[in-house]
């Protein structure tokens, strides 16, 4: 009898232990999904970081209101990367190690995205960028753990080069870029895309990031006599370049074109009328005429009383990408989610995007937009398969 009880007790203890273990497992599966966001909340790229945050916050709010992902809420954890790859890797490491985030996004500076991609590989987690343009991220420096949902420099260049070729055939183009990875890669991408179509490269200058005065370079620009100037500066640098070009009359009779990150809703107010006539190739415009975008723009304006830009839209779309992948994988496990992400199609404000499995680059239609009195008007379109370019990633 005694022995029987003892046996029963042991069984009870084991059952209790099993139950409690089951309970903790259940908590791990039903607790919130933690998504780390390493984005510039200070420094020259703050305006971009703000759009990233607004887009992510809005999508998280919507998804959480509709029951989350597989019944789990999204918890966004922000860290300031100061647009500095060294800081970004520290913050990413912290998010993976201390906060135990399931997924990470937000990096703006292409150098930060590449560096954080390495951190993700070491931690066996996935990251996605919604902003970085450098082709190498999904090109020769591609990583099995890094995805890009926004259009890369090459896709923007393809759309813009097609527009320039149509409007100003055989253009003489001068290039002004910021001297770092993104600046050099956007300039070389557009140079390649436009010269292939018959345009002529008449000169280039790379100014330091955060350059205050561009007037010392205007002599070179003038003597090169361009009829098109291409630039890929961003943030506050654009304000200075554009207003100074205007002050010096450099833009007279010249069409200014550039990277999509050059003029955004954040710096457009400060640039004012000096931005008029600027044309860029983009993956997004708040004017896109489709129901998903109209709904998104209305919700965004209601939440923040300002228009979304491409960073806001792509960051918003990212959470739906992650949601679709986790729901398909029925797990947040890295390998299962990665497999689910490959060739995944999902709904975004730009319409349906598809993640190319070969290099982790999202495919989408591209647009040429022109700024007229503070508005981005769509002036041309290039289909997704025309803009995407070859898959040059050979790491996976």
């Amino acid at each position: 009898m005694k022995k029987y009880f003892k046996k029963k007790q042991i069984t009870q203890i084991i059952m209790l232990a099993a139950l409690s273990l089951g309970a903790t497992l259940a908590i791990a599966q039903t607790g919130p999904i933690k998504i780390g966001v390493v984005t510039p909340l200070s420094g020259t790229y703050t305006p971009i970081g703000e759009q990233v945050k607004m887009g992510l916050d809005l999508a998280a709010k919507e998804i959480n209101a509709k029951g989350g992902i597989n019944g789990r809420k999204i918890d966004l954890i922000y860290e300031d990367e100061e647009a500095n790859p060294a800081v970004a890797t520290q913050k990413a490491e912290k998010l993976f190690q201390v906060e135990k985030v399931d997924f990470l996004t937000g990096t703006v500076n292409s150098g930060s995205t590449l560096a954080v991609g390495q951190v993700a590989e070491r931690n066996k987690k996935l990251i996605a960028t919604t902003v970085s343009f450098a082709d190498s991220i999904t090109g020769d420096k591609c990583s099995p753990n890094v995805f890009r949902v926004n259009a890369r420099a090459g896709m923007q260049s393809a759309a813009l080069a097609a527009w320039v070729d149509k409007e100003i055939p055989k253009a003489n183009i001068f290039f002004i870029g910021p001297d770092y990875l993104m600046g050099r890669s956007t300039v070389s991408a557009f140079k390649k895309a436009s010269t292939e179509k018959g345009a002529k490269d008449v000169g280039e200058v790379f100014a330091p990031l955060g350059n205050k005065d561009y007037s010392p370079y205007f002599g070179q620009v003038r003597s090169a006599k361009p009829n098109v100037i291409y630039t890929s500066v961003a943030g506050n640098d654009t304000v200075r370049l554009f207003t100074q070009m205007d002050d010096y009359g450099i833009n007279k009779g010249v069409t200014i074109v550039g990277a999509s990150g050059t003029v955004t809703s954040q710096n457009l107010g400060a640039i004012g009328k000096s931005a008029n006539g600027f044309v860029t190739g983009v993956g997004y415009s708040p004017k896109l005429d489709n129901p998903a975008n109209k709904q998104f723009v209305a919700d965004f304006q209601k939440a923040y009383s300002k228009l979304p830009d491409l960073y806001g839209a792509d960051s918003y779309g990212l959470l739906y990408f992650y949601k679709a992948a986790v729901e398909k994988a029925k797990s947040t496990d890295t390998d299962k989610v990665r497999a689910a992400m490959n060739d995944l199609s999902w709904q975004t404000p730009q319409g349906i995007k598809k993640m190319r499995a070969g290099d982790h680059q999202a495919m989408q239609d591209m647009f040429a937009v022109r700024i007229e009195n503070g508005e981005f008007n769509i002036v041309g379109m290039v289909a997704a398969d025309q803009a995407i370019g070859p898959d040059v990633c050979d790491r996976f």
């Binding site: 200070s42 420094g43 020259t44 703050t46 305006p47 703000e50 001297d179 200058v205 790379f206 100014a207 330091p208 955060g210 350059n211 205050k212 005065d213 007037s215 010392p216 370079y217 205007f218 002599g219 070179q220 003038r222 003597s223 943030g235 506050n236 304000v239 200075r240 207003t243 100074q244 002050d247 010096y248 009359g249 954040q266 710096n267 107010g269 400060a270 640039i271 004012g272």
Partner: protein, 294 residues
């Protein structure tokens, strides 16, 4: 040859001069504060930003730009005065004054920068240029407002030089810098002179902010823009010397401007710092002595 001189070098030097005046305006307040108080003001750039932000807010309230040129420095005078009295004086008399004031002003700089972010937000603001249009000069177009800034800046620098070297007030300031104890025993209110001089330096930084905002736009981290170059100018010119600041300011910005024709712009900053290091190696006091030698 003549043509390249006219169309490439002359406009380039003119551009360099316009940047040079901006840098000298920044260096002026720094060098005065250092020359007299022996304090390296790391928050100088943030007072430059304060001037720019104050002018933006005042103009939004309908105050004209020209009135801002007067009002903003006046607003900054009491702020500078209070900072010297309440903060700098607290650590001024310790043996390791240089390090303590450096850390203190650096801390103030960080607090100010974040305050701007909270008050005015991170997005850049571009005040309209009060003088629009451009004039043809040396065969190229040059913005009228930059011409004004160069002329006004030159006048301002001259006025400050007159104040320090040719007036009785200036003599008192220099005397206090030269020998604190002796000046004090002769009845000069040395502590008041210190606070007022610091306030003058801060007001000059603010004035530079008002003047340069329409050219360089306004945002919380703008204080970092000219500060490194301004520090180099102060070191090369000689700590505390106004003449030195002017000569070094023009020298370094011309070097930067002309060199950017031949080398990648990214290398023109290292070039400037190389000159600074060379000056420190061979003539540690800078090109011209200091205010005390005046």
């Amino acid at each position: 040859m003549l043509e390249s001189l006219q169309y490439i070098y002359a406009p380039q030097m003119l551009n360099g001069l316009s940047i040079g005046v901006a840098v000298i305006l920044m260096a002026l307040g720094l060098t005065i504060i250092f020359g007299l108080l022996d304090v390296i003001n790391m928050s100088h750039g943030e007072f430059y930003a304060a001037g720019a932000f104050f002018s933006v807010s005042l103009m939004a309230m309908g105050v004209s730009f020209w009135l801002c040129l007067v009002l903003v420095p006046l607003l900054l005078l009491p702020i500078g005065f209070a900072m010297e009295r309440l903060l700098i004086q607290k650590v001024f008399h310790y043996k390791d004054r240089h390090i303590l004031t450096l850390l203190l002003t650096f801390g103030v700089a960080m607090v100010l920068e974040d305050s701007y972010k909270i008050i005015w937000g991170s997005n850049p603001i571009k005040p309209p240029a009060p003088i629009s249009g451009a004039s043809e000069l040396l065969g190229v177009m040059f913005p009228n407002y930059r011409l004004f800034v160069m002329a006004f800046g030159a006048l301002l620098i001259f006025a400050v030089w007159l104040l320090i070297y040719k007036t009785q007030i200036g003599a008192i300031v220099r005397a206090a810098a030269f020998d604190k104890e002796m000046s004090s025993s002769l009845g000069i209110p040395v502590m008041l002179v210190y606070a007022l001089t610091f306030a003058l330096g801060v007001a000059l930084a603010g004035l530079a902010g008002v003047l340069l905002a329409p050219i360089y736009s306004v945002f919380p981290t703008m204080g970092h823009d000219f500060i490194l170059l301004a520090f180099s100018v102060v070191i090369v010119g000689g700590l505390g010397s106004i003449k030195g600041a002017v000569v070094a300011g023009i020298l370094l910005t011309q070097l930067q401007s002309i060199s950017s024709l031949y080398i990648s712009p990214v290398w023109s900053d290292p070039l400037v710092f190389t000159v600074m290091v060379l000056v420190l190696m061979f003539k540690p006091t800078g090109l011209y002595g200091g205010m005390k030698n005046g």
